[in-house]
């Protein structure tokens, strides 16, 4: 499991490889918060290479979304597979996040 961060234009793109779970969620949170502190405002988290997400992973996404909004920024998600979509639907988090089917659509939606 790992996270990679790169910039595409003025958007910070985070790829989540493997699981987003209790054991690594703080690493993701810290990486995004570091970018927020540097003044970045637009964030995209891409789940194309993600296995499963547990409740603490979902919790970190909720927390990051709030913190980014508080700083006047935006967080969007992309590439949830059918199982991850179901997870977001079960928790109604699909109503809280802007979720795009592809990275390209997410990038162009900012």
């Amino acid at each position: 499991m790992s996270f990679s961060i790169k910039k595409q234009g003025d958007i910070v793109v985070v790829d989540v490889e493997g699981q987003l779970i209790v054991g690594n969620r703080q690493e993701l949170k810290q990486k995004v918060l570091d970018e927020l502190e540097r003044g970045e405002k637009k964030f995209l988290i891409d789940f194309a290479q993600t296995g499963y997400i547990d409740s603490s992973g979902l919790g970190v996404l909720v927390s990051l979304s709030k913190k980014i909004r508080e700083q006047g920024g935006e967080l969007r998600l992309a590439n949830l597979n059918d199982d991850l979509k179901t997870l977001f639907e079960l928790t109604k988090l699909d109503t809280l996040f802007q979720i795009a089917d592809t990275r390209e659509r997410a990038l162009s939606s900012f």
Partner: protein
Amino acid sequence: MPASPPSDAGLRVSLHLDIPSDVDYIERVVELVRHPCAELAYTQRQLALNVPVALSEALSNAILKGNGEDPRKRVSIHADVDACRLVVEISDEGAAFDLQAHTRDATAPENLEREDGRGLFLMQKLMDAVERVTDRPGNVIRMTLARA
């Protein structure tokens, strides 16, 4: 004519695992339990969502809440998998708790933006049954999932 492979009907896999109170073990336990489920043709959805997420939740609860991440305390996992169902029991050394009283509706408007509180909710949504086993010491949670 080649013999047809034996049916899964009579096959049963039992696993007993014992881990320290460390969340870094969760992924390995999930893989060890998921593997026989895959062998027994549980659906892709069950292998990618129901089993890993519900099991991760139960293990995090046992490690973080039950045992308070105390390195002297252990979590044990017993899984029975056959072609009909997965039954997995997770035991920690913490005090027993009321499962229903601690489960809150994570989809209620007042809870939607909370960072915590989705673990037990997801276990109940993703498994056919989640219950506390009361006839044994410590805190034991049993989860059952029928093969779809």
